[in-house]
């Protein structure tokens, strides 16, 4: 399967990603690019994962979101799971035998995830999960959820398989990622083995969920970089062919100015993504902040480039099957998920100021 062959417009219009596409993604090995080979992955670098997400993101953000959420849950288990959890879940996730859902957000807990109301109660060898999660990407199809809740007042993360007590309410017609099969998911007294607890209570948000979000930010960043580059390509292609007053649109200086800004933004976003990939592969402490910066820049580049692309394509950009029109809707979502632009700015400034404090420059 190649991204260029995707029917992204059709999936977006239909509001679903066909099961055969999800299966093809699994067969292509896209779920386990950066997972260790001993757990069924390809053992690839962060740059390899990123390039794949850019290639997919340049065509369909919903497929990229599928790869993202599977990677988020896998990364959390790979980093903080027990040996048994890793050997049980990671090969199944890498092979697509299980589809993952990331169940953290609630109606009263978005950016401030520590405010979750979901309750975990331990009785003997079991944990009972009760709560309602919102905006779960591929929540309609997920077979295992990484759920954030509170156990004895401490934030904890638990793996919950779909089954009795798990119900989903599909979300349709949202602004973007329309084929990402988003759902609100309810856990009504679901009982799971205590062995499904990932890391100790108290570390569920700060380490387990944070690791998943960090991984998600990275793949979203690359997907946005791909989206921005695709906008540049679409605009360049359109403006050299479309004529106005007997000259190509590209002959107009205002058009060239817009195209130049788009290209610079897209290229800068990609460079920040590459920088984040290098830092992540090297295990550098700055990798977390570098990933936030890459995601922030790439989401803004995708939003700006897609907005300009719709403008320059005119009526073609507004058509129901317009690629840049879909990018325009999807890109706005990217400025919100995995840390809004505003929250990202706070983190980036914090990191910058910290370096100056340590270096004695401020």
């Amino acid at each position: 399967m190649r991204p260029a062959e995707f029917d992204a417009a059709g999936w977006d219009e239909g509001g679903a990603l066909p099961a055969e596409v999800r299966d093809a993604v699994a067969r292509a090995g896209w779920f386990g690019v950066d997972l260790p080979t001993e757990h069924g992955g390809r053992g690839g670098s962060q740059a390899e994962l990123g390039e794949l997400c850019a290639e997919i993101g340049a065509v369909c953000s919903s497929v990229r979101a599928l790869v993202t959420v599977q990677g988020m849950v896998s990364a959390a288990i790979a980093r903080w799971g027990t040996d048994e959890q890793r050997s049980t879940w990671l090969p199944a996730l890498a092979a697509g035998e299980h589809l993952a859902g990331f169940a953290a957000t609630e109606s009263g807990a978005g950016t401030e995830l520590s405010a979750v109301d979901t309750r975990f109660e331990r009785t003997g060898g079991e944990i009972t999960v009760t709560g309602e999660k919102r905006w779960v990407t591929f929540g309609q199809e997920a077979t295992v959820f990484l759920v954030l809740g509170k156990l004895d007042g401490r934030l904890a993360a638990v793996l919950v398989e779909k089954g009795a007590g798990v119900s989903t309410d599909p979300v349709r017609g949202q602004l973007g990622l329309r084929a990402a099969m988003v759902a609100h998911v309810r856990f009504d007294g679901v009982r799971v083995p205590v062995g499904n607890l990932v890391a100790s209570p108290g570390f569920g948000l700060s380490h387990v969920i944070a690791t998943a979000l960090d991984h998600g930010r990275f793949t979203v960043a690359w997907g946005c970089a791909g989206m921005a580059a695709a906008c540049v390509a679409d605009v360049a292609d359109h403006t050299v062919r479309r004529r106005q007053d007997a000259v190509p649109l590209a002959a107009h200086q205002l058009v060239r100015s817009m195209l130049a800004r788009m290209a610079v933004d897209a290229t800068a976003a990609r460079e920040l993504c590459l920088s984040a990939a290098r830092a992540r592969d090297a295990g550098e402490p700055g990798a977390v902040a570098g990933t936030v910066m890459a995601k922030y820049a790439a989401a803004r580049a995708a939003a700006s480039a897609s907005q300009d692309a719709v403008q320059l394509l005119g009526s073609a950009g507004c058509a129901s099957d317009s690629r840049v029109g879909r990018f325009f809707r999807d890109a706005k979502v990217m400025q919100i998920i995995e840390g809004s632009d505003q929250v990202s700015e706070l983190h980036i400034a914090d990191h910058l100021l910290r370096e100056h404090r340590v270096g004695g420059k401020a």
Partner: protein, 84 residues
């Protein structure tokens, strides 16, 4: 990795990093988690810093607040891991 690191050197490096992380110099026995000074991104950065600086791997079984809550406890954790 560097077995036998002096405790003072480890403590000094951790104190410098945590100070930058929480924008205040904590007492080595002060619980910066309890004071709400460490958000989730900072917690991840702290783990990455400890792994990168001291050449150790923090595993799930190491995730005990007693290992991380103060500079002195984190120093002890690093010394045990580097000695191993």
């Amino acid at each position: 990795m560097r077995n036998g690191l002096p405790a003072d050197e480890v403590r000094g490096q951790l104190l410098e990093f945590v100070t930058s992380l929480v924008d205040a110099e904590p007492d080595p026995d002060e619980d910066y988690f309890e004071r709400g000074l460490v958000n989730s991104l900072a917690a991840l950065e702290l783990v990455t810093f400890v792994e990168h600086r001291f050449g150790i791997t923090v595993r799930a079984e190491d995730l005990d607040l007693d290992n991380f809550r103060t500079v002195n406890r984190l120093t002890g954790f690093v010394l045990v891991k580097t000695a191993g």
